[in-house]
């Protein structure tokens, strides 16, 4: 009763996994990263288009997973690609997640140092954060799912509330003209805007834990739709309030936007630090999920179930996160990680899906 043989998560919790994993540090820079390439106020169109593409990819991943309902990606890729290639691919994926969690932690530390704790050394900010993640990941997939369910409503509602408070400096003119320079810039921005959806591939790893495995197309749909709506909303509001030029010149456009208005007569007048503090929870969620998937991969490749992997990953993540020397290198790291994930997870599931189809047909012929 106290411990079921395998932890299970509900469909709703799976949606939480996808959504929370897509959210992360990215949203704080999202208006800038998309607009930098596009240079017109049309970023929101790019977001919408890329959102649709990502949804399609997520559904393909779901279909792939449904062929192997009781295995994670780490296990079934060995069946499809052979033991060695599969293990190699898994190790690549694991190192990707280590890098990702390192990036999330570092970004968190950088923003915290900038907005909340000037003068506090980066390691001091990162250490407790890493340790708490360590403690949580030991609780397994259920504990993480429950935490996501707690922090998701808090962060999202608070974020939306603050966004709405800024409505008074919103000007529609900043968003005009729509498609003024044609479709081309939007297409150019598609890759960067798709980067913000990195994380949809989480379904590859958590599908095994889901209680309900058939008729769950709504899970990837909803999981991508929530950040999709959210991103479009944020980009529209921030660009609409700050104008394209200001957005491109700001490191953290969302925080600049929140800083640019004051509400008098409420308990607080400024919300930039508050929203950052709230968003730290969201970064924590992304970091924890990445850490969890990395440890899960190590456990399944070496088929050992110990906590030793988690303990060994924490220093590794710390070291990786300290590689970038300054904030610009952190952003470079983000670009590399994002591009890598996009290449990996947009093409690979499709290939694996085709391979599994082909193999199945062969099997039938025999």
């Amino acid at each position: 009763m106290t411990s079921s043989p395998l932890d299970r998560i509900t469909s709703y919790q799976a949606v939480m996994f996808i959504t929370n994993f897509i959210f992360g540090a990215g949203i704080l820079t999202l208006p800038r990263t998309t607009t930098e390439k596009i240079k017109t106020p049309d970023s929101w169109i790019a977001i919408i288009v890329s959102g649709l593409i990502i949804t399609l990819l997520a559904v393909i991943i779901l279909k792939l997973c449904q062929r192997y309902p009781n295995e994670t990606f780490y296990q079934f890729n060995q069946k499809l690609l052979g033991k060695w290639v599969g293990s190699l691919l898994s190790l690549t994926v694991i190192s990707y997640y280590i890098a990702l969690s390192a990036y999330e932690v570092r970004t968190m530390a950088e923003t915290t140092r900038l907005f909340l704790l000037q003068g506090t050394p980066t390691w001091a900010i990162m250490m407790p954060f890493l340790w708490i993640g360590l403690y949580l990941v030991q609780g397994g997939v259920n504990a993480i799912a429950r935490l996501l369910e707690i922090i998701f409503p808090i962060t999202v509602i608070f974020f939306l509330l603050v966004m709405f408070l800024g409505m008074k400096i919103f000007e529609v003119d900043n968003l005009r003209p729509v498609l003024g320079s044609g479709v081309k810039p939007v297409l150019k921005g598609l890759t960067t805007s798709s980067l913000s959806f990195a994380g949809f591939e989480i379904l590859l790893f958590i599908f095994m834990f889901m209680k309900e495995k058939n008729k769950v197309t709504k899970v990837p749909l909803l999981g991508v739709a929530i950040p999709f709506i959210y991103y479009s909303f944020t980009v529209v509001i921030v660009i609409g309030s700050l104008s394209v030029d200001a957005v491109v010149s700001q490191t953290w456009p969302v925080l600049t936007f929140v800083r640019s208005f004051e509400i008098t007569g409420l308990l607080f007048e400024r919300f930039d630090s508050l929203i950052l503090v709230i968003w730290i929870m969201q970064i924590f969620a992304t970091y924890v999920i990445a850490l969890f998937i990395a440890t899960l991969g190590l456990k399944q490749i070496f088929s050992k179930s110990t906590h030793a992997f988690i303990y060994s990953l924490i220093p590794l993540i710390y070291l990786v996160s300290m590689i970038p020397k300054n904030i610009n290198e952190v952003f470079k790291m983000a670009d590399i990680i994002g591009n890598f994930s996009l290449c990996l997870f947009s093409i690979m599931p499709l290939i694996l899906f085709i391979i599994s189809k082909v193999k199945e047909r062969k099997y039938e012929k025999m």
């Binding site: 106290t2 704790l117 609780g139 429950r146 707690i150 630090s273 730290i280």
Partner: protein, 521 residues
């Protein structure tokens, strides 16, 4: 090397324990049976328990037959009414019909059981151990010359107090019935208020030396059988010499002893137990303790009061939200103050920060020390007020309040704003309907203050994340402690932060997996 030594030590301890067991064995295994010879039997029993001054032996003859009878009982503990009005009267006036044959063995036994003795509870035992333990637990042992069976009659009749309103859980509306120390009275109360044939009361014994009765109470057709099995198993694992109070049971069956949060609900209120049973939970009652234990428990249950259901739903909902708010303040009040004052004064409205700065002028300590001084003195005051006799306790409260509130500010040790923060926090923690939740939050408040003083708002968030990480990992008897906030089910949210009108609460909480889920049609 060290662990080897430790291991050796362990082995030594185990060996000595084995030896001790072996030494004990012969005593336990020699079962002295009653012989039927009254004088010999009495001597045997006297040797065993006769040295106690309160054990009384009374010998007499049965009516006109001349058969010798002895009763053994504990003076003041056994029911004197039964002895005087039933046993003595029955036997002394017994006049078995002359059948020609002298009454012997089975016929004598049948006669006593069927015609002579007019009491309801009658046990027959044979071994010395059963007799002595029966007598020690308040029964009256009846030895009849020539019979190899000994009758044990009646139970203890200890003095009990009246049924009062529980002092620790007051309420404005609702039944004013609380449990008392006597188990039989408590189960009778439950039977009277829960008139359901499925109300099951299962008895078991705990305590190796002092054997106390512990009953497991549940609704047979609602409770999840896995849960029941788990509870029974955990109770069976209890091996301790004596349990003084049900809180011993609580600490021995809880899931995680390292957690600051109570994982078993304890209550004196009958209505609370009844509603828990109706939700499919299990209650435990220990003889000698007025506190019932309820398992499993989730965090939101600890913030509920039975009164939430007696008030109309709007008031109840608002009060419940107020309670969540005050739990938040009780936990984070001082730490938020510390974080804002020492790290992020820019977040506070300008006018407010000026007035705070003005009052803090001349205070020599950083906010953390200031807060610690105040919080500690409040805790000290609370503890002092609790331990002293009631009239003195109250005056301590007034004197202490004056000292802390007025004089400390005048002396410039703390700022008046700090006094307000600490006072609001303390009052907030009093609104929690369960005493032990209040303690948990008070402990955690200090940790949260430390986090805040090191990392400011970031520290508060870190602490929140740590707390959540702990809570999501915690389970109470297999039920996630943070349900129903997680594993979202609309049905369970009807009775979470808000309390919907009763006619909408059609189903029992699903998180407990009840067998019969319909509450109202």
């Amino acid at each position: 090397m060290k662990w080897r030594r430790l291991n050796k030590n362990k082995m030594k301890i185990e060996e000595s324990a084995k030896k001790a067991k072996q030494d004990k064995q012969p005593f336990q295994e020699s079962i002295n049976e009653v012989t039927g010879n009254l004088t010999a039997d009495l001597n045997l029993i006297r040797k065993e328990i006769g040295h106690n001054s309160d054990v009384k032996f009374r010998e007499f003859q049965m009516g006109t037959t001349g058969i010798r009878i002895a009763i053994i009982f504990i003076d003041g503990f056994a029911d004197a009414d039964v002895i005087n009005n039933h046993i003595l009267v029955d036997f002394m006036s017994a006049s078995p019909k002359e059948t020609g044959h002298p009454l012997k063995n089975s016929s004598l036994k049948d006669y006593i059981k069927n015609q002579a003795l007019s009491v309801s509870g009658l046990n027959e035992v044979r071994t010395l151990k059963d007799i002595t333990s029966g007598v020690m637990f308040g029964s009256i042992a009846i030895l009849v010359d020539g019979l190899e069976d000994v009758f044990l009659v009646g139970g203890a009749k200890a003095k009990t107090r009246n049924i009062d309103e529980p002092a620790t859980e007051g309420s404005v509306r609702g039944p004013r019935v609380g449990f008392i120390e006597n188990l039989k009275d408590n189960t009778a109360l439950l039977r009277r208020h829960g008139k359901d044939q499925n109300l099951s009361i299962i008895s078991s014994q705990v305590g190796e030396r002092s054997k106390k009765e512990l009953v497991i109470i549940y609704m047979k057709d609602i409770v999840d059988p896995h849960l029941l099995e788990e509870v029974k198993q955990r109770i069976n694992k209890i091996k301790i010499d004596d349990v003084h109070d049900s809180s011993y049971i609580e600490q021995l069956i809880e899931d995680n002893f390292l957690s600051p949060f109570p994982q078993v609900q304890s209550t004196e209120r009958l209505d609370r137990v009844m509603s828990a049973l109706m939700e499919g939970r299990i209650a435990l009652l220990l003889d000698g303790s007025p506190f019932a234990l309820i398992v499993p428990v989730t965090f939101h249950m600890l913030l509920q009061s039975p009164e939430d259901y007696y008030e109309r739903w709007m008031a109840a909902t608002l009060i419940r939200i107020l309670r969540y708010f005050s739990a938040f303040i009780a936990l984070f009040g001082p730490s938020l103050y510390i974080a804002f004052i020492s790290f992020h004064p820019g977040l506070i409205p300008t006018k407010l920060i000026f007035s705070i700065a003005a009052t803090r002028e001349g205070v020599p300590f950083p906010p953390l020390i200031e807060a610690l001084i105040m919080e500690l003195s409040i805790e000290v005051l609370r503890e002092a007020g609790l331990r002293l006799p009631k009239p003195i306790g109250q005056s301590i409260g007034i004197v202490g309040g004056l000292v802390i509130g007025e004089a400390a500010v005048q002396a410039g040790i703390v700022s008046p704003i700090m006094v307000i923060v600490v006072a609001v926090t303390a009052i907030s923690s009093f609104t929690l309907p369960q005493y032990n939740v209040g303690i948990a939050l008070r402990m955690l408040r200090f940790a949260s203050m430390l986090f805040a003083s090191v990392f400011g708002l970031y520290g508060v968030i870190l602490f929140f994340l740590l707390l959540c990480s702990h809570l999501v990992r915690l389970k109470s008897f297999g039920i996630p402690y943070v349900s129903p906030a997680v594993s979202f089910r609309l049905n369970d949210w009807k009775d979470f932060m808000i309390r919907v009108p009763l006619f909408l609460m059609k189903r029992r909480p699903k998180l407990l997996h009840p067998k019969d889920s319909v509450r109202k049609r």
